[in-house]
Amino acid sequence: MEPLVKIRNVEVRYDNRNGGLVAISGVDLDIRQGEVVGIVGKSGCGKTTLLKVIAGLVRPTRGEVIYNGTHNGGGFRGIGMLFQSPLLLPWRTVLKNILLPIELRGEDVDSYVPRALELMERIGLKGFENSYPWELSGGMQQRVALCRALIHRPSLLLLDEPFSALDAITREDMWMLLQEVISYENYTAVLVTHDIREAVLLSDRVVVMGGRPGRVKAEVTIPFRRPRDLGLQYGREYNDYVAKIRSLLGD
């Protein structure tokens, strides 16, 4: 089957005052329908840049990105994004924050309310629809951001270190929630992280990036069946994958 996203020989050069900086170069990557792809790499190796290229926020200076086999992304239902900070609008209630993408797409907002409420229940936000973001903890705010990323059933979910600002326990809760919602609605997702354990636990495939300029160093398939259990972390096989990816990252 044709991959959902094909990234071919992509280079991104940022122009800044002291000349140009090649953030990523010669990146080839396929993202297949229904797959969770983890991207790990050290800080500054171009993970966010690669994600922005996929999102169409940054134009590659060389190479191309092809969605659904076409250049204009026919049949592509858009993307959902989740960043490290929840980026909620403080003057809107939780429900209205979640419905923002629908509003921006000019679709009928009211008809999405049932879906929003269902998502909220699934993600553990039941009863918070009329709260304001500042009334919620950081973990709860990130759940709202996850609902907002999913409300329009995007074809592709892009996650940029979404849990790195959370404490360890909340983070594990969020891993399980994310995994559940991804399986339930069969999302295709790209998860950028610098946490190897997170990448191995959640991904079908882990892409290891190296820096200067950013490029794909290796790809490691993680064969465990999804959904996975938090207990997997204490098994030998899992830790072998973590160790393997750690050594691929180099120093």
Binding site: I79, F83, L104
Partner: protein, 252 residues
């Protein structure tokens, strides 16, 4: 409900200042035309109440009209300048250049063009109040966090959607709080205009009373002006907290 104790201590401080002032004036026999005692000022307010209120109302009307114009114009201009980077780059330097012109110096010109009536006073209030409202409002509109902006674009937002759904709501508390500065600026503007080119208003009364060495009347004007501006500022704060409650979350 933090404020009860604070209000009480402010009132107490004011009372203490008033009493000290009164005692000092009597003790050192300070002539009234140099520094009138608080009791003399209050007496004057009572005696001239009609005259003072009439002129105060005049000043307030000029200030209010000027402030209204400044607020409307700043808001509209902020939206335009936030929408178009190129228009902003072209116009903003001109505006800051204009802000460097001492507006008080324009009053004689305004009087020359528009006579001694309401118009030069409203215009002076407008010209002084406008910039302090524009700057914070526009700044709030154009400093949306990069990541938020990218997320909105990724969701398919157009430039005008970003403006309407994010930039303008985001700027609302800044706009409202800038109205405090705008209010005091507008009052300063109309009072200056009244001093230079008017036969009415608190500014005119201050000027004419000091030229007659009627210092208590001048002080009465200052006191009333301060009181009313303070009260209006409080009203603005109430509106602010209603309209942009989310911006005060830390204080709730």
């Amino acid at each position: 409900m933090v404020s009860k104790a604070k209000t009480f201590s402010s009132v107490l401080t004011l009372l203490a200042i008033g009493v000290t002032w009164e005692v000092a004036v009597r003790l050192f026999n300070i002539p009234q035309f140099v520094l009138p005692a608080p009791s003399a000022i209050v007496n004057t307010i009572a005696r001239y109440s009609n005259y003072l209120l009439y002129n105060l109302a005049d000043t307030l009307l000029a200030s209010a009209l000027g402030l209204f114009m400044a607020a409307t114009f700043s808001l509209a201009l902020s939206v335009v300048l936030a929408y178009s980077d190129s228009v902003r780059e072209a116009i903003y330097p001109i505006l800051s250049g204009f802000n460097a012109v001492p507006r008080a110096a324009l009053v004689p010109l305004l009087a020359l063009w528009f006579g001694l009536g309401m118009v030069p006073r409203v215009l002076t209030a407008f010209l002084i109040a406008f910039f302090p409202i524009l700057v914070p409002t526009l700044t709030a509109m154009i400093t949306i966090e990069r990541e938020l902006w990218e997320m909105l674009v990724a969701f398919g937002a157009s430039k005008s959607q970003v403006l309407v759904k994010v930039a303008i709501p985001r700027a609302t508390p800044y706009f409202l709080s800038s109205l405090h500065m705008g209010l005091t600026s507008a009052v300063v503007g109309s009072v200056i205009a009244e001093m230079v080119a008017s036969d009415r208003g608190i500014g005119y009364v201050i000027l004419s009373s000091t030229s007659r060495l009627d210092t208590p009347l001048a002080f009465a004007c200052l006191l009333l002006l301060a009181l009313i501006t303070f009260t209006l500022s409080k009203v603005l704060s109430l509106v602010e907290r209603r309209v942009a409650r989310w911006a005060y979350r830390a204080n709730i």
